[in-house]
């Protein structure tokens, strides 16, 4: 993985290489092959990559993450205020994209855990599994069946129906 990753979220698995106990005087062919690969493939490729990085170092430039200001929601817009509607819709779309990326990151964490644990992933990956279940359930309840033409208004209506259903359940539970 590239450099800037969180060591707590993607921990390295414990090393399982055994201590070397050589019982013959003959050289290990695996060592020979590794050295061969290193000198024929690894070293040239690394030197080329370092040269390319050196070329990049000479004129560096940066890119940033765009920060958008928060605008009033759809709930705070007056009825005929189309401009407010448009801004709220754009904000909802940005938030939808961000939520999709969040789900992808959680899914990737689960995949990394499964890769790390190997065959014992079912019992060792509990935390990631629960996190993924929670996040995907939340995503489904908020953005779930809106369809291809989903908009902020449809999402708001879905939330309204959800709250009505919850209220009905609460009153039914009381009775």
């Amino acid at each position: 993985m590239p450099d800037g990753f969180d060591k707590d979220v993607y921990p390295e698995p414990p090393r399982r290489t055994p201590a070397v106990e050589k019982q013959t005087g003959l050289p290990n062919p695996a060592d020979i092959l590794i050295k061969l690969f290193q000198y024929t493939v690894d070293v040239p490729v690394t030197t080329f990559r370092d040269w390319v990085e050196h070329q990049h170092e000479r004129n560096r430039f940066y890119y940033y993450q765009q920060k958008f200001r928060r605008v009033p929601d759809l709930t705070e817009c007056k009825l005929g205020d189309h401009l407010c509607n448009y801004e709220a819709e754009m904000q909802w779309r940005r938030d939808h994209k961000v939520d999709q990326e969040i789900v992808k990151v959680i899914k990737e964490r689960l995949g990394a855990c499964q890769q790390r644990e190997g065959n014992s992933y079912l019992q060792n990956c509990d935390k990631e599994m629960n996190q993924f279940r929670q996040v995907s359930k939340a995503y489904q309840s908020r953005y779930g069946d809106l369809g291809a033409y989903g908009s902020a208004q449809k999402c708001l209506m879905k939330q309204k129906h959800r709250m009505i259903a919850e209220r009905k359940e609460a009153t039914a539970a009381e009775d």
Partner: protein, 186 residues
């Protein structure tokens, strides 16, 4: 073509039969062995007997493939060279935090140098698109509002009849000549 092969087969068969007639008696035809002409092992110093191979023309296919390669590589090679040069010598941007009191330009939100160039020179900034869309929405909403008020005003004026619309100009009352009916004897 087919006739030629039949004739050749017939000639070969006839040659075998003739050989048999000269050399041996007629009764036991099937048990005789005939020496074949090609069964001796001959090793040539060249590529063997030169054959004139009949096959359909591949001129058009080869011409097509040649032209395809030519026209693809005509722009393909310069484009590949330019993109390689850019990736090796200019390189991609690095992610950084936005410095204090600095508002990045709209192209500084992209990573690859070619994307940045396109965003800088060819595309409009996304803020401009946003504002254009908002301007359109504003114009359309104002138009809709005007049309709605006009509809309401028209309905009310027609109903009540006290507004400037839906009344027709009549003549001045002082111009009316009441003289024909002014006295009871006319």
């Amino acid at each position: 073509m087919v006739g030629m092969s039949v004739l050749r087969a017939g000639a070969g068969f006839a040659a075998r039969l003739n050989q048999l007639k000269h050399g041996f008696s007629n009764g036991r035809l099937l048990t005789r062995t005939v020496p074949k002409t090609e069964s001796a092992a001959v090793r040539y110093g060249s590529h063997g007997k030169q054959m004139f191979v009949f096959k359909p023309s591949d001129y058009y296919d080869r011409r097509f493939l040649h032209l395809l390669r030519y026209y693809i590589l005509l722009t393909g090679i310069p484009v590949a060279a330019i993109i390689t040069y850019i990736n090796v010598f200019i390189g991609e941007a690095e992610l950084a935090e936005i410095p204090e009191n600095y508002v990045p330009e709209h192209w500084e939100y992209y990573k690859h140098p070619i994307t940045r160039w396109i965003a800088r020179n060819l595309y409009d900034p996304p803020e401009k698109n946003y504002e254009k869309m908002m301007a359109l929405i504003e114009i359309e909403s104002e138009k809709a509002e005007m049309r709605r008020t006009q509809m309401d005003v028209r309905k009310l004026m027609r109903e009540k009849g006290d507004g400037p619309w839906y009344h027709y100009e009549t003549m001045d009352k002082s111009l009316i000549d009441y003289s024909p009916k002014s006295t009871p004897d006319n």
